[in-house]
């Protein structure tokens, strides 16, 4: 696992005077002069080419910090993965630095807010009721610095749509600065129960937008229980209908756990009958993060014990010619008839394998585990001996 931010950053006085600023990282000393003010130069050979907005130096050379009238930040070892095209935010007053975008990663996600109107039993990013409108400003600063050839970025939360107009502004900024980049938004969809809001999103005509919306049961009260919000099911379903009515693509996301498994086959039938127009359905293994630990007994079911339901639901969706994927699930547990739906879904900086995986013939095709799975994973993980 790789740190996406760091504390213990030493900033010199010039850097501290900049305050919070966003820079694109480069190690190229031949960058055109006009670009340099928006870029942070990675000092590797003691060379300080003129004009960069900021200079990042490795730990251990404190003397360099104040030797020059340049903005210099001394970064720890674990940030040496920073590379050309990455985007960082310096926070001198907190002596920290955030990595907002990694060009080499296919999974760049922006958290838009920590606020949420759901309170899901298994939330991996527990919401906080804080005023965090500054985050949107930070992302609006970062978007113009991102490589326009980036294939995909994500918006997550909290519930991103709670930003209201600012959410729409952010989607517009993605279209404007990154017209060739897919935008995937994780939203509970409830805000789109307001058809006007859904229409306004569609009117941005983002060229490659997908809203990922969770539906956890075909029965309203079970969904509402899982997301801990009465009335959420109706709003989410209306949100999905509105989004699709206005031509916005929608992915339905189902997290697999003790509360969602019993109705999973019925939910799949419900989706094929009512929401067949959804563009993708993702059936996702549980992540052992955030609230999941607190609600462990109510959520944990060994994945080996729900494979029949998972296969039934997957095949129901597939027969209806829906686009279906299985995320965060291990091939050795799955019936081979659903292997073709399993995706390597876990972000590179989270993906891990267990000792039981040693010698597995299909490890290269397997999603593996979230690092957090060390807390608990299936008792039935075993190497697959013959490849698919």
């Amino acid at each position: 696992m790789i740190t996406l931010g760091a504390h213990r950053i030493q900033y010199n006085e010039t850097a501290a005077a900049l305050g919070r600023r966003t820079f694109r990282v480069t190690a190229d000393d031949r960058r055109p002069m006009p670009l340099r003010a928006r870029e942070a130069f990675m000092v590797r050979t003691g060379n300080y080419p003129e004009g960069f907005g900021c200079y990042l130096i490795p730990e251990g050379d404190a003397a360099q910090l104040n030797a020059r009238h340049l903005a210099v930040a001394q970064v720890p070892e674990d940030l040496t993965y920073l590379a050309d095209g990455d985007v960082i935010r310096i926070l001198p007053e907190r002596r920290s630095l955030r990595v907002l975008f990694r060009r080499s990663s296919p999974n760049n996600s922006f958290l838009l807010t920590e606020r949420c109107n759901n309170y899901c039993l298994m939330c991996s990013q527990p919401p906080r009721n804080v005023q965090d409108g500054w985050i949107a400003d930070e992302i609006l600063d970062a978007l113009p610095l991102i490589d326009p050839d980036t294939s995909e970025i994500g918006f997550t939360g909290g519930e991103p749509t709670l930003l209201g107009d600012r959410f729409l502004e952010l989607v517009q900024a993605c279209k404007s600065y990154l017209p060739r980049t897919a935008l995937h938004v994780l939203s509970n969809g409830r805000t789109f129960a307001d058809a006007t809001f859904a229409r306004r999103l569609s009117e941005i005509t983002h060229p490659d937008l997908m809203i990922g919306v969770p539906i956890y049961s075909d029965l309203s009260h079970i969904h509402d229980y899982v997301v801990q919000a009465d009335g959420a099911f109706d709003e989410t379903v209306r949100g999905v209908m509105n989004l699709k009515q206005f031509g916005v693509r929608v992915e339905i996301r189902v997290v697999l756990h003790k509360q969602t498994i019993p109705r999973l086959p019925a939910l799949a039938r419900f989706i094929t009958r009512n929401l067949l127009f959804a563009d993708h359905v993702a059936l996702m293994g549980l992540e052992m993060m955030g609230f999941t630990k607190a609600n462990f007994d109510d959520l944990w079911i060994d994945p080996a014990d729900y494979q029949a339901e998972l296969a039934a639901a997957t095949h129901t969706l597939d027969r209806a010619r829906m686009n279906v994927s299985i995320y965060n699930s291990q091939l050795c547990l799955m019936d081979r008839s659903i292997w073709r739906f399993a995706k390597r879904s876990i972000s590179d900086w989270k993906q891990e394998y267990m000792p039981e995986c040693n010698g597995c013939a299909v490890i290269d095709q397997c999603a593996g585990f979230f690092a957090s799975a060390k807390l608990r994973y299936s008792d039935h993980i075993a190497p697959v001996r013959a490849a698919a």
Binding site: L121, S220, I222, R273, A294
Partner: protein, 486 residues
């Protein structure tokens, strides 16, 4: 951690009772009932379950309650989005109506070199050109084709033997294609032919315009040749040669086949299906004989009764199910059409099984002489002397006059199954159709008395038969695959 609310709290609104959404039920067998809703979703209930449900006495903890809620047979205090979803599903089922006429049938000639005793349209000798469509007539018909608002237009050429008037096929296809440069419709062309007269010219033309060939194949050689006499007694050989020639030169999917059931077919459904398997078709349409044309004159229609045909159908269907369960995918097209209504949100456009009826607004026929008919069966009826469903003539009537003619509107309105006696309360109505031409032909009434209707009894048996078969392991899954195949 505190701050989480238990499931029990979220279940509380369920205990305040529920309201029924519109539903209908029909006995399946014994104490078992099929229950359907407006969107065609269904379940099978035991009579006590049905009674408890209808009396709003079902407990929220009953699995039947969950199923009925999930399928939108009831709403409770916890959720009201069911109404929106149900409305959306009903709209989806009815949406194709707005497209209006998509299938346009051109009868290029009544001439035919076959002399099939069951033929449903009168035929004429091979060399009498007075039964051919002229360019003037075709041109007027093409004007009418493009008056249809349908974004998808399928032109089907029928006969007689349609290819005996190849000139008019070529004229029509070229004229339609030329005008479509402005119209931008999604075009498809079909030539219905026995393939016996298929020549290089037809193949070359079909390749250029991506035309589909639709032919007849009644079963093995002896059965087919007995059903379909022609000079030389080689109808089967000609058809098979033609099928493989079209596949080879135009593409595997460029030929389809239809079978007609006769008395001679009745004991031989497996052989007929085997013939389709042998010829590499991906399915078969097990069709009943219709009460029109020569079929009536020659007593063919009366020669076997409904129950014998149903035996034939179900023996065939079960044989096909077994083929599938053994791993060989093969389709029965009539069942697939009904299953699409039962198991998906879609409404298939099959004109004989739709309500409002498909006459005129789903398909329309331009006869060789310019007469316009509301359906293929309508012109067959006219060949027997009954022009009830003749809407006018391309030379003397405008589009508005034809499509607003009483000969069309009256049967459409009268036969609408949603308000027809016995249909309106039938659980199978969402899967069924209203066939005013059939009921007029058999009962001299657009609606007909359903207990006397072979259309009704045949389809009711098939609906029940399909529901019952879905209880066999693996069959529901297979049926879902059929339902979504298009």
């Amino acid at each position: 951690m505190s701050g989480f609310t238990s499931l029990l709290e979220y279940e509380k609104p369920l205990h305040a009772g529920y309201e029924l959404l519109p539903f209908r039920f029909t006995q399946l067998s014994g104490d078992r009932y099929v229950v359907t809703n407006l969107a065609g979703e269904f379940t099978v209930l035991e009579r006590p379950e049905l009674e408890a449900f209808a009396k709003t006495q079902l407990s929220a903890s009953d699995p039947v309650y969950s199923e009925l809620k999930s399928k939108h047979f009831l709403t409770d205090g916890d959720s009201n989005v069911a109404i929106d979803l149900l409305a959306l599903k009903v709209r989806t089922k009815l949406a194709p109506l707005a497209n209006f006429t998509g299938l346009h049938i051109f009868v290029t000639t009544l001439r035919c070199e076959h002399s099939c005793p069951y033929c449903q349209v009168s035929r004429a000798n091979d060399d009498r050109r007075e039964f051919d469509m002229t360019e003037e007539t075709a041109s007027k018909a093409v004007d009418l084709v493009f008056r249809s608002p349908s974004p998808a237009i399928k032109i089907e050429f029928q006969g007689g033997e349609s290819l005996l008037n190849q000139d008019i096929i070529e004229f029509t296809v070229e004229e339609v294609t030329r005008r479509n440069q402005q119209e931008k419709r999604d075009l498809a062309f079909v030539i219905a032919t026995n393939l016996a007269v298929l020549d290089d010219r037809a193949i070359t033309f079909a390749r250029k315009h991506n035309i589909l060939m639709s032919t007849s194949l009644d079963g093995p050689a002896d059965l087919h040749n007995r059903n379909r006499p022609r000079p030389g007694g080689n109808s089967y050989e000609k058809a098979i040669q033609g099928i493989h020639r079209v596949r080879r030169e135009l593409g595997r999917d460029r030929v389809g086949a239809l079978m007609t059931t006769t008395v001679a077919s009745l004991g031989r459904v497996r052989e007929i299906i085997d013939e389709y398997v042998r010829q590499d078709f991906d399915g078969i349409f097990l069709r009943p004989l219709s009460p029109y044309g020569f079929a009536i004159k020659t007593k063919f229609y009366q020669s076997y009764d409904q129950s014998r045909w149903l035996e034939f159908y179900f023996e065939g269907l079960d044989y096909i199910i077994d083929l599938n369960l053994a791993g060989f995918p093969f389709l029965e097209h009539y069942a697939a059409t009904i299953l699409r209504k039962m198991l998906t949100p879609f409404q298939p456009g099959y004109v004989d099984l739709i309500s409002p009826a498909g006459i005129g607004i789903g398909a329309i026929v331009y006869n060789y002489d310019g007469d316009v008919y509301a359906s293929d069966e309508s012109r067959m009826l006219a060949e027997m002397g009954d022009k009830t469903f003749c809407l006018g003539n391309v030379h003397t009537h405008s589009y508005d006059e034809l499509l607003l003619s009483d000969n069309l509107l009256e049967p459409l309105e009268a036969s609408f199954a949603g308000s027809a006696p016995m249909c309106s309360w039938c659980a199978f109505e969402p899967y069924c159709g209203s066939d005013p031409v059939f009921h007029h032909a058999t009962q001299k009434d657009f609606v007909g008395k359903k207990p006397l209707s072979a259309f009704c009894s045949r389809n009711m048996s098939i609906f029940r038969g399909l529901v019952e078969r879905m209880e066999r392991p693996g069959v529901r899954e297979m049926f879902e695959r059929w339902a979504y195949m298009r």
